[in-house]
Structures are given as structure tokens and as C-alpha cells.
């Protein structure tokens, strides 16, 4: 049911936690019954310099939070903005139908990060 990628990021996440005085902060999720992910990030010279998350939900969404953080750390916001939907989908590897909603979560995380960066004037 779970790929090695998802299992590794769920069982041994590298980015769970909080960022002190984050430049960016956002939360995504379904208020009725869905997954929730809160992300905090620091930005230096247009690059994500530090990032942490907390997630509540299914194993795949928790792993998705970790995969997202790993992929954007030390990456320029401009480069993150240039990712295509296909590239974003590929970041989660092969998924079962019941895990596929996490592609939407990952896409939303990208969009929220960039929207928050714009709001805060760091991009």
C-alpha cells in the first residue's frame, strides 16, 4: 500500500517542528474531516533557508508535508514557482487511488507558500 518513499518520510520525518519567527506561515486542510498541514519557513535572499511542518492526517499526507519541506529547503522561491504540475505530482512517486488526494495537498502547499511569499514581499 505504501511506497518506500512515503513509508520513509512518515516513519522518519526530517522536518517536523516549528521555525522561530517564521517569515512565512500557512496552513492547509479540510475543516470538516480532512488532513491538516501547518508550514513555517524562513526566507533569506529569496531562498527558503529554513522550514518545518506539523501534519495531522493520513500517513501519506504526513509524508507529503515532509517531502515538500525537503524539496523546498535551500531552494530559490523563483525555482519553486517554476515547477510544473507534472513535476509536483512526480515528487510523491507511485500512489494508490486512496492516496492520490495528496497530489492536491502538495500542489496546494506550493501555491500557499508562493502566495504567502508574495504577501510578505519576499519574492
Amino acid at each position: 500500500m505504501y511506497s518506500e518513499l512515503i513509508a520513509d518520510h512518515f516513519m522518519d520525518p526530517g522536518f517536523v517542528g516549528d521555525v522561530e519567527n517564521p517569515a512565512l506561515e500557512f496552513e492547509i486542510g479540510n475543516s470538516v474531516c480532512g488532513d491538516r498541514i501547518r508550514v513555517q519557513a524562513g526566507v533569506t535572499d529569496g531562498t527558503v533557508s529554513e522550514i518545518a511542518y506539523r501534519a495531522w492526517g493520513c500517513a501519506t499526507s504526513v509524508a507529503t508535508g515532509d517531502i515538500f519541506c525537503e524539496s523546498v529547503k535551500n531552494t530559490a522561491l523563483a525555482d519553486i514557482a517554476s515547477r510544473t504540475p507534472e513535476q509536483i505530482e512526480a515528487m510523491l512517486g507511485e500512489l494508490e487511488p486512496s492516496q492520490h488526494h495528496c497530489v492536491h495537498i502538495l500542489t496546494e502547499m506550493h501555491q500557499s507558500l508562493l502566495a504567502e511569499a508574495q504577501t510578505q514581499g519576499v519574492i
Partner: protein, 394 residues
Amino acid sequence: MIEKMFSEAEKFGLKPLKMAISSPKALYDMSEEQLAEVKFILIKEAFSHHYESNKFYRNSCVEKGVSPDSINTFEDLATIPLVPIELYKSNDSHKLLSVGLNEVELEMRSTGTSGIPSVSRRCSDTVDNAVLGIYAMYREFFKISKGAGLYLCPSTEEIPEMGMIKALNMLAGLLDTHRFMVRNETFVPEDAVEQLAEWQNKFSRHIIGPPFLINRFIRYLKAANIKLKLDKGSYVITLGGWKRFSGEMLSRQEFNDECKEYLGVEEHQIRDIYALVESNVVAIDDEHGEKHVSPYVHFSVRDPKDLGREVAPGETGQLAILDPMARSTPGFMLTEDLVRLLPGTSASGRSGQRMQYVMRLPESKEFGCCAVNLDKRLDDLELEASSGTCPIVN
């Protein structure tokens, strides 16, 4: 004697736990002493499994000086370390797993008022146990094998991972037909009345759902002055919390009275189920309104001020569940529910524990399941709809 029977069965590859789960009637017919022996053997084996397989849990046990070697009598079961239910909501809930994530077959969840989902993960063996256990209990208490189910809740297609809906949906497999009446977060009571009329004289009609949604339906019937008359073999089956999103408690007696008046059923046809997404136990009302705990699961009711102390039957306390069916995570959990075990013997003659749900722990910020959010959403939508028709310009 029980131990000998189990070890003989094991010689033929039969699993004592699966035998017990499939045989609620035989267990309820046992003496209290025999049933205690069954529970002790199964729970001790489950404890040994999690102690051996789960590092996080084992470390907690070692800290408390409890190991499988220290569990030697039925009374010792009360010393088994308990997992507080809020750990299922934590973002590092992976530490609760006694099996690898790759062995997890099903994730189920429940979301109460906090909006933080409680996620329970079940391996194949646990799913087998839960499915066998739930169906065997449904058969024991409802004897349903036909009829039509009016589900006053959303379908599992709309919310596939919700434990409450999944458990209720399993009942549908025993019926001839069923309809989910909450679609896209909308409930139209007129449609429910129409559906019941369509099934009249074709099927025994059952109404199934969380108490709030059935209560919502009854409120409509009351307002429209409609009094239905369900069938002799009908059931009104509820599962879910009895506290509304507003904090208001729904009175069970008032609910029953209104079911009798507006749905045309007798008291023995109204059955509530107590269940938790984190556990595999179900406790179901019998025909006398007494809720029987799955006979292979032990409910240990604790003094909330001294959680190491069990309170006497009849006294209210905080519920701890010792569930041997859980193989992927320790089934030994401290809930946030206040319950009392009924003293004496059961009116139906069944052995084992009978419980009465009292309320959620007052200090618990969390209550309800997905139904409580749905109840709120339906209220919000009704408010929106009514404000849209308000003739005042704003």
C-alpha cells in the same frame, strides 16, 4: 479448561482470538469466571505482542515496571500501560505502530470539534478481527439479514475514511437495499419521508445514523406534524456522540420518546452503539436497552483522579479499553469518555460487561466525531438558506 481448549485448537492452526471474535453468543453464554479466563488469555497474548513489537510502547512499559511476566492474574490486567487517546491525534503517531507501515492496510479517522483527525491504522490481521467482530456483534444483537436502511449520514463514497460511517455501512451489506440521505453536505428531510414511503410494505425499514441527524429528521417531522409508523421488525440504530457541536447534550430518554412518537417504533427497537475509531470494540444495546461490550474486550473503568484505581461497577469513571483485536497499534487505551459498568446480571441473561455512556470528560476540549461537524455544517447551511430568503435588505 479454556486454556487447554485454546492450545488444542492452536494445534490445528486455529487462532483463539478469531474463534472468540466469531462466537459472541457462546461467550455470552459462559459463566463470568470462564469469560474472564478467555479475556485474560487473549489480552495477555496481545500485550506480549505489542511489548515485543513496539519499541515506544515497550519503553513505556519498562518505565512502569510492567512486562508480560508480571501479568499473571485477571486483576493484573489493570496494570497494563494505557495509551492516551490523544496520541492518535499527534503528528508523530507513527510511534504507535507495532507493525511496519507497509503492513498497514486501512487508515480510518474521526474528527471531532478540534478539527484534528484521530487516525487509527489497521494491518490486515486487525481488519480481519474488526470485520469479524463487528459483523458477529451486529448478528448477535440485531439478527438483521434483510430490509431497507435509510442512512441519515453521508456515504462512504463521500467520506471514505470515516470510522463511524464505515462501521454503519457494514450493516448495509446485510440489508436488501439502502440509501444515504446526506449528499454533498445536504439533508432534505422531505426526501427521507418519500424514500420511507416508497419502501413501505416492501421492506422492514431501518433508520440508521448518528443521533443528531436522526434528531434533525425528527425535528422536521415534528414541525411538519408527520407521524410515521415504521415496521415491527424495524430498528432505529444510532452510532456517534450525544453532544451537539453547540455543547448541548441530547437526552437519550427524550430521543427515545420522540422516536416512539414520530417514527412509530417501540423502545426495544431503538438501539445505540458505542464505538471508537481507535478501538475495534462495539458495545450494542440489547432489547432491554442494556449496552453489551464485545465479550473478548475488557472495559476497565478508572477513577479520573487516580487512573491506577478501578472504580466499582455502578460508579462513573474514565474508560480504559483493553482490546486484544488490535494488532497494528496497542489496543490498550485511555479514552476521554466517562462511563459506568452496570452492576448485577443482565436482563437478557448474557454474561460479560454492560456499560452506560455518561459523558465526555468535562476537561476534554474534544468531543464528537465527523457527525458533530456535519451537524454544524447542516445548521450553517440552513442559516444561510433562511437568511437568503429574508425580505430585509442588508
